[in-house]
Protein backbone atom coordinates (compact mmCIF):
# COMPACT_ATOMS: atom_id res chain seq x y z
CA UNK A 1 0.00 0.00 0.00
CA UNK A 2 1.36 3.41 -0.94
CA UNK A 3 -0.12 6.83 -0.26
CA UNK A 4 1.07 10.14 -1.67
CA UNK A 5 -0.15 13.69 -2.04
CA UNK A 6 0.21 14.72 -5.65
CA UNK A 7 -0.70 17.55 -7.98
CA UNK A 8 -2.23 16.71 -11.38
CA UNK A 9 -1.82 19.30 -14.09
CA UNK A 10 -4.32 18.97 -16.96
CA UNK A 11 -3.74 20.64 -20.32
CA UNK A 12 -6.84 22.34 -21.76
CA UNK A 13 -7.28 19.53 -24.31
CA UNK A 14 -8.04 16.85 -21.70
CA UNK A 15 -9.59 18.85 -18.90
CA UNK A 16 -13.11 17.58 -19.63
CA UNK A 17 -12.22 13.88 -19.45
CA UNK A 18 -13.23 11.82 -16.38
CA UNK A 19 -9.83 10.69 -15.09
CA UNK A 20 -10.77 10.06 -11.48
CA UNK A 21 -13.45 7.59 -12.55
CA UNK A 22 -10.78 5.52 -14.28
CA UNK A 23 -8.37 5.74 -11.36
CA UNK A 24 -11.05 4.27 -9.09
CA UNK A 25 -12.63 1.77 -11.45
CA UNK A 26 -9.63 0.49 -13.41
CA UNK A 27 -6.85 0.83 -10.85
CA UNK A 28 -8.72 0.44 -7.58
CA UNK A 29 -7.15 3.59 -6.13
CA UNK A 30 -8.45 5.55 -3.12
CA UNK A 31 -8.82 9.24 -3.85
CA UNK A 32 -9.16 12.20 -1.54
CA UNK A 33 -9.49 15.47 -3.43
CA UNK A 34 -7.87 18.38 -1.56
CA UNK A 35 -8.22 21.13 -4.11
CA UNK A 36 -9.45 21.51 -7.70
CA UNK A 37 -9.26 24.41 -10.08
CA UNK A 38 -9.69 25.24 -13.77
CA UNK A 39 -8.08 28.47 -14.87
CA UNK A 40 -9.38 30.86 -17.57
CA UNK A 41 -7.12 29.13 -20.13
CA UNK A 42 -9.05 25.93 -19.31
CA UNK A 43 -5.99 24.26 -17.75
CA UNK A 44 -6.84 22.18 -14.71
CA UNK A 45 -5.08 21.65 -11.39
CA UNK A 46 -6.09 18.91 -9.01
CA UNK A 47 -4.45 18.34 -5.66
CA UNK A 48 -5.24 14.94 -4.21
CA UNK A 49 -4.16 12.21 -1.88
CA UNK A 50 -3.82 8.98 -3.83
CA UNK A 51 -3.52 5.58 -2.19
CA UNK A 52 -3.51 1.99 -3.30
CA UNK A 53 -1.54 -1.13 -4.05
CA UNK A 54 1.96 -0.21 -5.29
CA UNK A 55 1.49 -1.84 -8.70
CA UNK A 56 -1.92 -0.22 -9.20
CA UNK A 57 -0.59 3.12 -8.05
CA UNK A 58 2.22 3.07 -10.60
CA UNK A 59 -0.10 1.91 -13.39
CA UNK A 60 -2.58 4.66 -12.47
CA UNK A 61 0.14 7.30 -12.66
CA UNK A 62 1.32 5.82 -15.97
CA UNK A 63 -2.26 6.01 -17.27
CA UNK A 64 -2.49 9.71 -16.34
CA UNK A 65 0.89 10.55 -17.88
CA UNK A 66 0.04 8.66 -21.08
CA UNK A 67 -3.08 10.84 -21.46
CA UNK A 68 -1.06 14.04 -21.15
CA UNK A 69 -1.70 14.74 -17.44
CA UNK A 70 1.42 15.85 -15.63
CA UNK A 71 1.84 14.52 -12.09
CA UNK A 72 4.08 16.19 -9.54
CA UNK A 73 4.65 15.41 -5.87
CA UNK A 74 2.90 17.99 -3.70
CA UNK A 75 5.97 18.80 -1.62
CA UNK A 76 7.65 20.18 -4.73
CA UNK A 77 4.76 22.57 -5.34
CA UNK A 78 4.73 24.61 -2.17
CA UNK A 79 8.21 25.80 -1.41
CA UNK A 80 9.12 27.56 1.80
CA UNK A 81 12.02 29.91 1.13
CA UNK A 82 13.81 29.77 4.46
CA UNK A 83 16.17 32.59 3.59
CA UNK A 84 13.32 34.94 2.71
CA UNK A 85 11.37 33.94 5.86
CA UNK A 86 11.71 36.44 8.70
CA UNK A 87 10.41 33.96 11.30
CA UNK A 88 7.50 36.28 12.09
CA UNK A 89 5.00 33.44 12.39
CA UNK A 90 2.04 35.15 10.66
CA UNK A 91 1.54 32.05 8.49
CA UNK A 92 1.41 29.64 11.41
CA UNK A 93 -2.03 30.75 12.62
CA UNK A 94 -3.39 30.70 9.06
CA UNK A 95 -2.12 27.28 7.96
CA UNK A 96 -5.03 24.83 8.53
CA UNK A 97 -2.89 21.69 8.86
CA UNK A 98 0.05 23.03 10.90
CA UNK A 99 2.39 22.27 8.00
CA UNK A 100 3.82 25.68 8.79
CA UNK A 101 4.41 25.62 12.49
CA UNK A 102 6.23 27.55 15.16
CA UNK A 103 8.77 25.66 17.23
CA UNK A 104 8.60 26.92 20.81
CA UNK A 105 10.27 28.29 22.85
CA UNK A 106 12.80 28.99 20.07
CA UNK A 107 10.03 30.74 18.06
CA UNK A 108 11.35 29.55 14.71
CA UNK A 109 9.09 28.65 11.80
CA UNK A 110 9.31 25.21 10.17
CA UNK A 111 7.58 23.75 7.14
CA UNK A 112 6.54 20.11 6.93
CA UNK A 113 5.70 19.31 3.30
CA UNK A 114 3.96 16.08 4.27
CA UNK A 115 1.27 17.92 6.21
CA UNK A 116 0.75 20.52 3.45
CA UNK A 117 -2.46 20.31 1.43
CA UNK A 118 -1.49 23.13 -0.96
CA UNK A 119 -4.47 25.28 0.02
CA UNK A 120 -2.32 28.33 -0.69
CA UNK A 121 -3.56 30.43 2.27
CA UNK A 122 0.03 31.00 3.39
CA UNK A 123 1.12 32.54 0.08
CA UNK A 124 -0.55 35.85 0.82
CA UNK A 125 -0.58 35.59 4.61
CA UNK A 126 3.22 35.73 4.58
CA UNK A 127 4.29 39.40 4.81
CA UNK A 128 7.72 38.59 3.36
CA UNK A 129 6.20 36.42 0.59
CA UNK A 130 8.52 33.61 1.59
CA UNK A 131 6.19 30.79 0.52
CA UNK A 132 6.11 30.12 -3.19
CA UNK A 133 3.84 28.03 -5.36
CA UNK A 134 5.64 26.26 -8.21
CA UNK A 135 3.40 24.82 -10.91
Amino acid sequence: MVKHKIVLLFPATVVEQPFLYHLVKDYNLIINVLKANINPRKEGTLVLELAGDKENYDSGIHFLESRGVKTVPLEQQIVWNEERCTQCGACTVICPTSALEMIRPEMTVTFNGEKCIACGHCLKACPARAVEEHY
Partner: protein
Amino acid sequence: MKVNRTYDEINERIKKGEAVVMTAEEIIPFVEEKGLEQAAREVDVVTTGTFGPMCSSGAFLNLGHPMPRMRMSEIYLNGVNAYGGIAAVDAYLGATEIPKTDPANTNFPGEFNYGGGHVIEDLIAGKEVYLEAYSYGTDCYPRKKLGTYIKLEDMNEAFMFNSRNAYQNYNVAVNLSEKTLYTYMGILKPNLGNANYSTSGQLSPLFNDPLLRTTGIGTRIFLGGTEGYVSWYGTQHNPSVNRSETGAPRTPSGTLSVIGDMKQMDAAWIRGVSFLGYGVSLMVGIGIPIPILNEEILRSAAVKDEELFAPVVDYSQGYPYGRGGPLGEVSYAQLKSGTIVIHDKEVPTAPLSSYPKAKEIAEILKSWIKEGQFLLTEPVEQLPSADSGKKLSPMKIRSRGEEN
Protein backbone atom coordinates in the same frame (compact mmCIF):
# COMPACT_ATOMS: atom_id res chain seq x y z
CA MET B 1 22.60 51.95 45.32
CA LYS B 2 25.88 50.16 45.80
CA VAL B 3 26.93 49.97 42.18
CA ASN B 4 27.62 53.24 40.42
CA ARG B 5 29.19 53.07 36.99
CA THR B 6 29.66 55.86 34.44
CA TYR B 7 29.44 55.85 30.65
CA ASP B 8 33.16 56.76 30.53
CA GLU B 9 34.12 53.78 32.68
CA ILE B 10 32.10 51.45 30.47
CA ASN B 11 33.64 52.89 27.30
CA GLU B 12 37.15 52.52 28.73
CA ARG B 13 36.46 48.84 29.32
CA ILE B 14 34.97 48.47 25.81
CA LYS B 15 38.09 50.07 24.27
CA LYS B 16 40.31 47.65 26.18
CA GLY B 17 38.16 44.73 25.04
CA GLU B 18 37.28 43.96 28.66
CA ALA B 19 33.61 44.88 28.77
CA VAL B 20 31.21 42.20 29.99
CA VAL B 21 28.20 42.22 27.68
CA MET B 22 25.10 40.03 27.77
CA THR B 23 21.90 39.96 25.76
CA ALA B 24 18.60 40.80 27.47
CA GLU B 25 17.84 37.08 27.37
CA GLU B 26 21.14 35.91 28.86
CA ILE B 27 20.96 38.43 31.70
CA ILE B 28 17.78 36.90 33.14
CA PRO B 29 19.26 33.63 34.52
CA PHE B 30 22.51 35.47 35.36
CA VAL B 31 20.71 37.90 37.70
CA GLU B 32 18.67 35.05 39.17
CA GLU B 33 21.86 33.16 39.94
CA LYS B 34 24.11 35.99 41.14
CA GLY B 35 21.61 38.36 42.67
CA LEU B 36 21.04 41.91 41.46
CA GLU B 37 23.95 43.62 43.18
CA GLN B 38 26.63 41.11 42.23
CA ALA B 39 25.34 40.88 38.65
CA ALA B 40 25.40 44.68 38.39
CA ARG B 41 29.03 44.67 39.54
CA GLU B 42 29.99 42.15 36.87
CA VAL B 43 28.01 43.23 33.81
CA ASP B 44 28.72 46.47 31.88
CA VAL B 45 26.16 46.34 29.08
CA VAL B 46 22.94 44.50 28.21
CA THR B 47 21.97 44.38 24.54
CA THR B 48 18.40 44.26 23.22
CA GLY B 49 16.85 43.64 19.84
CA THR B 50 13.67 43.82 17.80
CA PHE B 51 12.80 42.98 14.21
CA GLY B 52 9.24 43.76 13.27
CA PRO B 53 7.05 45.72 10.89
CA MET B 54 7.46 49.44 11.60
CA CYS B 55 5.26 51.44 9.24
CA SER B 56 6.47 54.92 10.15
CA SER B 57 9.79 54.42 8.38
CA GLY B 58 11.34 55.93 5.31
CA ALA B 59 14.41 57.54 3.81
CA PHE B 60 15.68 60.92 2.72
CA LEU B 61 17.42 60.60 -0.63
CA ASN B 62 19.51 63.06 -2.59
CA LEU B 63 19.26 61.75 -6.14
CA GLY B 64 21.97 63.98 -7.67
CA HIS B 65 21.60 66.76 -10.24
CA PRO B 66 21.14 65.81 -13.89
CA MET B 67 22.20 68.27 -16.61
CA PRO B 68 20.25 70.35 -17.45
CA ARG B 69 19.22 70.62 -13.80
CA MET B 70 15.78 69.75 -12.54
CA ARG B 71 13.57 70.68 -9.57
CA MET B 72 11.88 67.32 -9.20
CA SER B 73 8.33 67.88 -8.04
CA GLU B 74 6.85 64.46 -8.79
CA ILE B 75 9.18 61.52 -8.20
CA TYR B 76 8.72 57.76 -8.65
CA LEU B 77 11.12 54.96 -7.76
CA ASN B 78 10.03 51.67 -9.36
CA GLY B 79 6.63 53.34 -9.74
CA VAL B 80 6.39 54.25 -6.05
CA ASN B 81 5.90 57.93 -5.29
CA ALA B 82 8.56 59.66 -3.21
CA TYR B 83 7.70 63.05 -1.73
CA GLY B 84 9.40 65.86 -3.65
CA GLY B 85 8.13 68.89 -1.79
CA ILE B 86 11.63 69.67 -0.54
CA ALA B 87 14.77 70.92 -2.35
CA ALA B 88 15.46 70.24 -6.04
CA VAL B 89 16.65 66.62 -6.07
CA ASP B 90 15.83 65.65 -2.50
CA ALA B 91 13.04 63.18 -1.84
CA TYR B 92 11.48 61.31 1.05
CA LEU B 93 10.47 57.77 0.30
CA GLY B 94 7.94 56.42 2.78
CA ALA B 95 7.71 52.72 3.63
CA THR B 96 3.95 52.41 3.19
CA GLU B 97 3.65 54.20 -0.16
CA ILE B 98 2.21 52.00 -2.92
CA PRO B 99 2.74 52.35 -6.69
CA LYS B 100 0.35 54.68 -8.50
CA THR B 101 -0.74 51.67 -10.58
CA ASP B 102 -1.53 49.41 -7.59
CA PRO B 103 -5.25 48.52 -7.44
CA ALA B 104 -5.03 48.75 -3.62
CA ASN B 105 -8.23 47.39 -2.04
CA THR B 106 -10.47 47.82 -5.11
CA ASN B 107 -10.36 44.05 -5.41
CA PHE B 108 -10.56 43.26 -1.71
CA PRO B 109 -8.36 42.10 -0.09
CA GLY B 110 -5.58 43.75 -2.10
CA GLU B 111 -2.25 41.94 -2.31
CA PHE B 112 0.11 44.94 -2.02
CA ASN B 113 3.06 42.99 -3.34
CA TYR B 114 5.37 45.97 -3.78
CA GLY B 115 5.74 49.42 -2.26
CA GLY B 116 8.04 51.92 -0.56
CA GLY B 117 9.39 49.35 1.91
CA HIS B 118 10.38 47.07 -0.96
CA VAL B 119 12.10 49.93 -2.84
CA ILE B 120 14.13 50.66 0.30
CA GLU B 121 15.07 46.98 0.61
CA ASP B 122 15.98 46.81 -3.11
CA LEU B 123 18.18 49.90 -2.84
CA ILE B 124 20.00 48.52 0.21
CA ALA B 125 20.43 45.19 -1.60
CA GLY B 126 22.30 47.14 -4.32
CA LYS B 127 19.63 46.67 -6.98
CA GLU B 128 18.93 49.15 -9.77
CA VAL B 129 15.61 50.94 -9.47
CA TYR B 130 13.86 53.00 -12.13
CA LEU B 131 13.63 56.70 -11.34
CA GLU B 132 10.96 58.75 -13.08
CA ALA B 133 10.60 62.46 -12.29
CA TYR B 134 8.54 65.40 -13.51
CA SER B 135 8.83 69.13 -13.02
CA TYR B 136 7.16 72.36 -14.13
CA GLY B 137 10.58 73.79 -15.11
CA THR B 138 12.19 77.01 -13.93
CA ASP B 139 15.00 79.26 -15.21
CA CYS B 140 17.42 77.64 -12.77
CA TYR B 141 16.00 74.14 -13.18
CA PRO B 142 14.87 73.82 -16.80
CA ARG B 143 14.45 70.04 -17.16
CA LYS B 144 10.81 68.92 -17.11
CA LYS B 145 11.05 65.14 -17.12
CA LEU B 146 13.52 62.38 -16.58
CA GLY B 147 13.72 58.58 -16.66
CA THR B 148 16.80 56.66 -15.58
CA TYR B 149 18.01 53.67 -13.62
CA ILE B 150 19.71 54.48 -10.35
CA LYS B 151 21.41 52.62 -7.51
CA LEU B 152 21.94 53.52 -3.89
CA GLU B 153 25.66 54.06 -4.54
CA ASP B 154 24.80 56.67 -7.23
CA MET B 155 22.96 58.84 -4.72
CA ASN B 156 24.81 61.54 -2.83
CA GLU B 157 23.11 60.83 0.46
CA ALA B 158 20.56 58.30 1.57
CA PHE B 159 19.64 58.17 5.21
CA MET B 160 16.83 56.35 6.82
CA PHE B 161 14.78 58.56 9.09
CA ASN B 162 11.97 56.72 10.82
CA SER B 163 9.49 58.78 12.76
CA ARG B 164 8.00 56.00 14.88
CA ASN B 165 9.91 52.81 15.62
CA ALA B 166 10.56 50.40 18.48
CA TYR B 167 7.10 50.69 20.06
CA GLN B 168 7.28 50.04 23.77
CA ASN B 169 4.61 47.36 24.01
CA TYR B 170 1.70 46.88 21.60
CA ASN B 171 -1.83 45.53 21.33
CA VAL B 172 -2.62 41.86 20.92
CA ALA B 173 -5.01 41.90 17.96
CA VAL B 174 -8.06 39.61 17.82
CA ASN B 175 -11.29 39.48 15.86
CA LEU B 176 -14.66 39.10 17.61
CA SER B 177 -16.67 39.40 14.40
CA GLU B 178 -17.85 36.67 12.04
CA LYS B 179 -15.78 37.70 9.04
CA THR B 180 -12.06 37.59 8.39
CA LEU B 181 -10.24 40.88 8.96
CA TYR B 182 -7.20 42.04 7.00
CA THR B 183 -5.16 44.38 9.18
CA TYR B 184 -1.69 45.76 9.79
CA MET B 185 -1.57 43.08 12.49
CA GLY B 186 -1.99 40.39 9.81
CA ILE B 187 -4.98 38.26 8.93
CA LEU B 188 -7.37 37.91 11.88
CA LYS B 189 -9.65 34.93 11.58
CA PRO B 190 -13.28 35.32 12.73
CA ASN B 191 -14.63 34.42 16.17
CA LEU B 192 -11.29 34.71 17.96
CA GLY B 193 -9.55 32.51 15.40
CA ASN B 194 -6.10 33.84 16.25
CA ALA B 195 -4.31 36.50 18.29
CA ASN B 196 -1.42 38.41 16.73
CA TYR B 197 1.06 40.46 18.75
CA SER B 198 4.15 42.37 17.78
CA THR B 199 6.98 42.93 20.19
CA SER B 200 9.97 40.83 21.14
CA GLY B 201 8.96 40.98 24.83
CA GLN B 202 11.92 40.46 27.15
CA LEU B 203 14.34 41.28 24.28
CA SER B 204 12.51 44.43 23.18
CA PRO B 205 14.63 47.61 23.54
CA LEU B 206 12.20 49.86 25.40
CA PHE B 207 10.83 47.05 27.57
CA ASN B 208 14.35 46.79 28.98
CA ASP B 209 14.59 50.53 29.64
CA PRO B 210 10.97 51.18 30.63
CA LEU B 211 11.49 54.65 32.11
CA LEU B 212 13.93 55.73 29.38
CA ARG B 213 16.77 56.24 31.84
CA THR B 214 19.55 55.51 29.35
CA THR B 215 17.87 55.69 25.93
CA GLY B 216 17.66 59.32 24.84
CA ILE B 217 18.49 61.75 22.08
CA GLY B 218 21.83 60.82 20.56
CA THR B 219 21.90 57.22 21.80
CA ARG B 220 23.94 55.11 19.38
CA ILE B 221 22.03 51.99 18.32
CA PHE B 222 22.00 49.07 15.88
CA LEU B 223 19.81 50.12 12.95
CA GLY B 224 19.36 47.94 9.88
CA GLY B 225 22.72 46.22 10.27
CA THR B 226 24.79 49.31 10.94
CA GLU B 227 25.16 52.05 13.54
CA GLY B 228 22.29 54.47 13.84
CA TYR B 229 21.09 57.00 16.38
CA VAL B 230 18.01 57.92 18.36
CA SER B 231 17.11 61.36 16.99
CA TRP B 232 14.01 62.25 19.00
CA TYR B 233 11.08 60.58 20.69
CA GLY B 234 8.83 58.98 18.12
CA THR B 235 5.39 60.11 17.01
CA GLN B 236 2.59 58.96 19.34
CA HIS B 237 5.16 58.73 22.17
CA ASN B 238 2.90 58.18 25.14
CA PRO B 239 4.78 57.71 28.41
CA SER B 240 1.89 58.60 30.76
CA VAL B 241 0.25 55.19 30.84
CA ASN B 242 -0.56 52.49 33.34
CA ARG B 243 2.60 50.64 34.42
CA SER B 244 3.60 47.52 36.33
CA GLU B 245 5.66 47.74 39.52
CA THR B 246 8.75 47.16 37.38
CA GLY B 247 7.95 50.32 35.43
CA ALA B 248 6.99 48.45 32.25
CA PRO B 249 3.97 49.97 30.47
CA ARG B 250 0.89 47.74 30.20
CA THR B 251 -0.32 49.35 26.96
CA PRO B 252 1.42 50.79 23.87
CA SER B 253 3.64 53.57 25.23
CA GLY B 254 7.03 55.02 24.25
CA THR B 255 8.30 55.23 20.68
CA LEU B 256 11.56 56.32 19.07
CA SER B 257 12.50 58.31 16.05
CA VAL B 258 15.75 56.94 14.62
CA ILE B 259 18.25 57.83 11.93
CA GLY B 260 21.02 55.96 10.11
CA ASP B 261 23.07 55.78 6.92
CA MET B 262 21.23 53.60 4.41
CA LYS B 263 24.42 53.10 2.40
CA GLN B 264 25.90 51.11 5.30
CA MET B 265 22.79 49.02 5.93
CA ASP B 266 22.26 45.34 5.19
CA ALA B 267 19.09 44.13 3.43
CA ALA B 268 18.94 41.22 5.90
CA TRP B 269 17.78 43.72 8.53
CA ILE B 270 15.57 46.00 6.41
CA ARG B 271 12.80 44.08 4.67
CA GLY B 272 9.82 45.22 2.63
CA VAL B 273 6.67 43.36 3.68
CA SER B 274 3.09 43.06 2.42
CA PHE B 275 -0.03 42.78 4.53
CA LEU B 276 -2.97 41.34 2.64
CA GLY B 277 -5.85 43.82 2.47
CA TYR B 278 -3.85 46.44 4.36
CA GLY B 279 -0.75 47.58 2.51
CA VAL B 280 3.02 47.54 2.56
CA SER B 281 5.39 48.15 5.41
CA LEU B 282 9.00 47.74 6.38
CA MET B 283 10.49 45.30 8.84
CA VAL B 284 13.24 47.15 10.66
CA GLY B 285 15.97 45.66 12.82
CA ILE B 286 16.82 47.73 15.89
CA GLY B 287 19.07 46.96 18.84
CA ILE B 288 19.76 49.27 21.76
CA PRO B 289 22.57 48.81 24.28
CA ILE B 290 21.77 49.45 27.91
CA PRO B 291 24.68 50.60 30.07
CA ILE B 292 24.44 49.00 33.49
CA LEU B 293 25.05 52.15 35.53
CA ASN B 294 23.42 50.72 38.67
CA GLU B 295 21.23 47.95 40.07
CA GLU B 296 18.00 49.70 39.19
CA ILE B 297 18.88 49.86 35.51
CA LEU B 298 19.90 46.21 35.62
CA ARG B 299 16.65 45.26 37.35
CA SER B 300 14.73 46.73 34.38
CA ALA B 301 17.03 45.13 31.82
CA ALA B 302 16.58 41.71 33.43
CA VAL B 303 12.81 41.83 32.96
CA LYS B 304 11.27 38.59 31.70
CA ASP B 305 8.26 37.69 29.59
CA GLU B 306 6.25 36.66 32.68
CA GLU B 307 6.43 40.25 33.97
CA LEU B 308 5.39 41.98 30.74
CA PHE B 309 1.73 42.45 29.83
CA ALA B 310 -0.14 43.54 26.71
CA PRO B 311 -3.80 44.46 26.22
CA VAL B 312 -5.98 42.25 24.01
CA VAL B 313 -7.89 44.43 21.55
CA ASP B 314 -10.73 43.56 19.18
CA TYR B 315 -9.95 44.79 15.66
CA SER B 316 -13.51 44.44 14.37
CA GLN B 317 -15.05 47.13 16.63
CA GLY B 318 -12.69 48.04 19.47
CA TYR B 319 -9.73 49.39 17.50
CA PRO B 320 -11.31 50.83 14.34
CA TYR B 321 -14.43 52.35 15.96
CA GLY B 322 -13.32 52.72 19.56
CA ARG B 323 -16.26 50.62 20.77
CA GLY B 324 -15.65 48.69 23.96
CA GLY B 325 -12.37 48.59 25.82
CA PRO B 326 -9.60 45.97 25.87
CA LEU B 327 -10.76 42.37 26.32
CA GLY B 328 -8.18 41.74 29.00
CA GLU B 329 -4.47 41.47 29.50
CA VAL B 330 -2.02 38.66 28.78
CA SER B 331 1.65 38.21 29.58
CA TYR B 332 4.31 37.76 26.92
CA ALA B 333 5.06 34.37 28.44
CA GLN B 334 1.47 33.34 27.67
CA LEU B 335 1.69 34.81 24.19
CA LYS B 336 4.92 32.93 23.50
CA SER B 337 3.44 29.65 24.74
CA GLY B 338 1.31 29.53 21.56
CA THR B 339 -2.18 29.96 23.01
CA ILE B 340 -3.98 32.46 25.20
CA VAL B 341 -7.45 32.23 26.68
CA ILE B 342 -10.00 34.92 25.79
CA HIS B 343 -13.68 34.61 26.67
CA ASP B 344 -12.98 31.01 27.78
CA LYS B 345 -11.66 30.14 24.34
CA GLU B 346 -8.14 28.94 23.59
CA VAL B 347 -6.79 31.18 20.88
CA PRO B 348 -3.58 30.44 18.93
CA THR B 349 -1.00 33.25 18.86
CA ALA B 350 1.51 34.53 16.30
CA PRO B 351 4.17 37.16 16.92
CA LEU B 352 4.66 39.16 13.62
CA SER B 353 7.81 40.50 15.27
CA SER B 354 10.56 37.91 14.85
CA TYR B 355 12.00 36.65 18.13
CA PRO B 356 14.93 34.70 16.59
CA LYS B 357 15.94 37.75 14.53
CA ALA B 358 15.63 40.00 17.59
CA LYS B 359 17.95 37.62 19.41
CA GLU B 360 20.41 37.68 16.51
CA ILE B 361 20.44 41.50 16.59
CA ALA B 362 21.16 41.50 20.34
CA GLU B 363 23.99 39.02 19.66
CA ILE B 364 25.48 41.13 16.85
CA LEU B 365 25.36 44.27 18.98
CA LYS B 366 26.98 42.31 21.80
CA SER B 367 29.83 41.23 19.52
CA TRP B 368 30.37 44.80 18.23
CA ILE B 369 30.68 46.05 21.80
CA LYS B 370 32.89 43.18 22.94
CA GLU B 371 35.21 43.72 19.98
CA GLY B 372 35.56 47.39 20.89
CA GLN B 373 33.92 48.67 17.68
CA PHE B 374 30.85 50.19 19.28
CA LEU B 375 31.02 52.73 22.09
CA LEU B 376 28.08 53.78 24.23
CA THR B 377 26.75 57.32 24.23
CA GLU B 378 25.22 59.30 27.05
CA PRO B 379 21.97 60.95 25.85
CA VAL B 380 22.32 64.58 24.82
CA GLU B 381 18.83 65.02 26.26
CA GLN B 382 16.40 62.68 28.02
CA LEU B 383 13.17 61.66 26.30
CA PRO B 384 9.85 62.49 28.00
CA SER B 385 9.22 59.71 30.52
CA ALA B 386 6.48 58.62 32.91
CA ASP B 387 6.74 61.83 34.94
CA SER B 388 6.54 64.18 31.93
CA GLY B 389 2.78 64.37 31.67
CA LYS B 390 3.05 63.93 27.88
CA LYS B 391 -0.08 62.24 26.55
CA LEU B 392 -1.47 60.93 23.29
CA SER B 393 -4.58 62.83 22.21
CA PRO B 394 -7.18 61.61 19.76
CA MET B 395 -8.44 64.01 17.11
CA LYS B 396 -11.72 65.78 17.64
CA ILE B 397 -13.46 66.57 14.39
CA ARG B 398 -14.84 70.08 14.77
CA SER B 399 -16.13 73.03 12.79
CA ARG B 400 -14.19 76.28 12.39
CA GLY B 401 -13.69 78.16 15.65
CA GLU B 402 -15.31 75.44 17.77
CA GLU B 403 -13.49 74.79 21.06
CA ASN B 404 -11.97 71.36 21.67
